[in-house]
């Protein structure tokens, strides 16, 4: 077995892969947060809870309706997206025009409600979710064994992230969205239904979180607390990347996942804190974030 920097190669590549997977989740979640922040000017604290709800939706679809992974991958984001529409209409819409901090507090409350309800119904221990049969197994890449499902998660997270970027930067819908982010009143004057656009943006961001949740379900056990710790790390990722840039969210998401994975190899005790340390350093050196334009 050969080694790199005194570390067995399979261990190194294994953690690197895990880092890329986590990075994919960071990217998908911070992307949703950034898009929602751009349009609604709120930080969606419920994002982690909705990520968890997405994973549970996949679990429920399989166990109650017998619908396998591939259906869940489409249905769960749709369901959670619809749920997001309801949340926006019932609660979040009432806060536009108030101080942004109220949006944070409201969605924090929503997250507590959602997580508490799931903990009541399912306990804290978690449910296993099988890897779909077509993606189980591993391939030998020569330098390491790649579990197929893990490779699939990295690729899909990357593709969906880039597709989201393309929709926002390259399509007419995305152009409208960006215009409304800049100046909602003017876009409304052009005859575009901005409140509906805002609601759909929230639903879209939330659907991305649910999609990440379905991807995560076979890797981590599906449990009510899976979102809350993740979302705080994603906040740090968002602070590092700066929320102004979509591509920045993707790059910092994957990058920080890799940094975290490498830390797990070389100095495991710090692997949980390394992203926060990076955040502190970035704030001291470049307060606006790596890709942010203004403070």
């Amino acid at each position: 077995m050969h080694t790199i920097f005194g570390i067995p190669a399979p261990l190194l590549f294994g953690q690197l892969l895990l880092g890329l997977i986590n990075g994919g989740f960071y990217a998908l979640l911070s992307l949703g947060l950034a898009v929602i922040f751009g349009m609604l000017n709120i930080i969606n604290f419920a994002h982690g809870a909705l990520f968890m709800t997405g994973a549970f939706a996949a679990w429920g679809l399989l166990n109650y309706l017998g619908l396998p992974y591939w259906y869940a991958l489409i249905l769960s984001p749709l369901l959670i997206g619809l749920f997001g529409l309801v949340l926006e209409r019932l609660f979040i819409r009432r806060l536009y025009g108030l101080d942004h901090l109220y949006g944070l507090l409201l969605t924090f409350g929503l997250a507590l409600i959602i997580e508490g309800l799931f903990r009541n119904a399912f306990g804290s221990s978690g449910m296993p979710y099988q890897i779909p049969r077509s993606l189980s197994g591993a391939v030998n890449l020569g330098f390491m064994f790649l579990p197929l499902y893990r490779g699939w998660v990295v690729v899909v997270a990357l593709v969906v992230s880039l597709a989201t970027w393309a929709v926002i930067e390259k399509t007419r819908l995305g152009a409208t969205l960006r215009a409304a982010t800049e100046n909602a009143a003017l876009v409304q004057a052009f005859g575009i239904n901005v409140p509906r656009l805002v609601a759909l943006t929230y639903a879209g961001g939330v659907a991305l979180a649910a999609f990440a949740g379905v991807l995560a379900a076979p890797i981590y056990s599906v449990n009510p607390n899976m979102g809350s710790n993740l979302i705080i790390t994603v906040f740090a990722v968002v602070v590092i990347g700066g929320m102004g840039s979509i591509l920045g969210s993707i790059v910092s998401g994957f990058g920080l996942g890799v940094i975290e994975g490498l830390t797990k190899v070389f100095y495991p005790q710090a692997s949980d804190t390394v992203i926060f340390v990076v955040m502190a350093i970035v704030l001291l050196a470049r307060p606006a974030g790596l890709f942010g334009k203004t403070a």
Binding site: F37, I42, I43, F91, R94, L95, L98, D99, H100, L101, Y102, L104, L105, L106, F108, G109, L110, A111, L112, I113, I114, E115, G116, L117, R119, N120, S228, N229, I232, T233, F235, A236, V238, V239, Q269, D272, T273, F276, V277, M279, A280, L283, L284, P287, A295
Partner: protein
């Protein structure tokens, strides 16, 4: 830009002490409650209320008066609890020195984290403080002196000044009461000092405060450190009362709880956060047998407060009575 719906200050009637008469009356009611309550209610429960009341009042200095939402105050509370517990148990310090060390730990941590976080504003400030607090949480999971999942247990209450044994609940109650009233008066003095006026000016209109020649970042940092100092004191006191410091004290849900207490009582009011601490702690006490329903109820109160009830209980009362509480 006016940050949050803090209660507007009316021109108050002043008492002989120079404080508004409403404040003197409310202070009297509060002190009377602190003195009489242990003869009616369970003192350990009351001590929990008092430590959280101090914690929430310290937190309110930032959210209510500076307009900064620190979403990671559990870090200072929890590290205060750990350091007090550790210094009393391992170093054998007397309780008052242990609590002071807890407060200084909170202040030192606040100086570093505050210095980093005030580089950004608004929502970013909230996210950064939350993320830094999460870092402290993971540190406490790993660090040897915190005892990981077990926490620091069986912390002795010791003898106050090396003389008075605190093992009796009714004896330590008066120490906790003194810490609370002392901390409260200290915060009251800060808010109603020239420093407090400048800080409120920063909340109302930071660019204007800068143009008047105030170094607003220094003011914010000083307020942050004062708040984290008292949060550390509160945490240290709590660890002595219960003889335990655990990961619960540094967890993000603790940060959420102190926000909730302040919001329920009335942010930007003098007495609201203490009242909020009483209400939230009592609610948790009665709901404790129902497990995760506590979390759900907290969430519902958050949502209700933000949607319908932004001034909180005392804020609403103050607005009705046209008083500044």
């Amino acid at each position: 830009m006016r940050a949050l719906d803090a209660t507007p200050a009316a021109a108050p009637a002043r008492s002989a002490l120079g404080a508004p008469r409403a404040h003197v009356v409310a202070m009297g009611v509060m002190v009377l409650f602190v003195v009489l309550a242990p003869f009616i209610l369970y003192p350990v429960f009351l001590m929990k209320v008092l430590t959280f009341a101090l914690f929430a009042t310290a937190f309110n200095l930032l959210l209510g008066y500076v307009g900064l939402l620190s979403f990671g105050h559990a870090a200072y509370f929890g590290m205060g609890a750990y350091v007090t517990a550790w210094s009393v148990k391992v170093l054998g310090l007397t309780p008052e020195l242990g609590i002071l060390l807890g407060g200084l730990t909170g202040a030192a941590l606040g100086l570093v984290f505050g210095g980093i976080a005030i580089r950004r504003q608004g929502l970013y400030f909230a996210m950064i403080t939350l993320a830094l607090a999460q870092m402290v949480y993971f540190f406490c999971v790993e660090a040897p002196f915190t005892g990981g999942e077990d926490g620091i247990q069986q912390v002795p209450r010791g003898r106050l000044f090396g003389l008075i044994p605190l093992a009796n609940d009714m004896v330590i109650y008066w120490v906790v009461a003194a810490v609370f009233v002392g901390g409260f008066l200290f915060l009251y003095r800060i808010v109603h000092s020239p420093f407090g006026q400048v800080v409120k000016a920063i909340r109302e209109n930071e660019p204007r405060a800068i143009s008047l020649g105030y170094r607003t970042d220094s003011y914010k940092l000083i307020a942050f450190v004062l708040s984290t100092f008292l949060a550390g004191i509160a945490g240290g006191t709590k660890s002595l009362v219960f003889g335990i410091a655990t990961l619960t004290d540094v967890h993000w849900s603790m940060s959420g709880e102190v926000v909730l207490m302040t919001l329920v009582g009335g942010l930007g009011t003098v007495f609201g956060p203490a009242l909020g601490a009483l209400i939230v702690t009592a609610m948790e006490n009665y709901l404790a047998p129902f497990g995760a329903w506590v979390t759900v109820t907290q969430g519902v109160i958050f949502v209700a407060c933000v949607l319908a009830f932004r001034r909180g209980i005392l804020g609403e009362i103050a607005a009705r009575l046209k008083l500044d509480l």
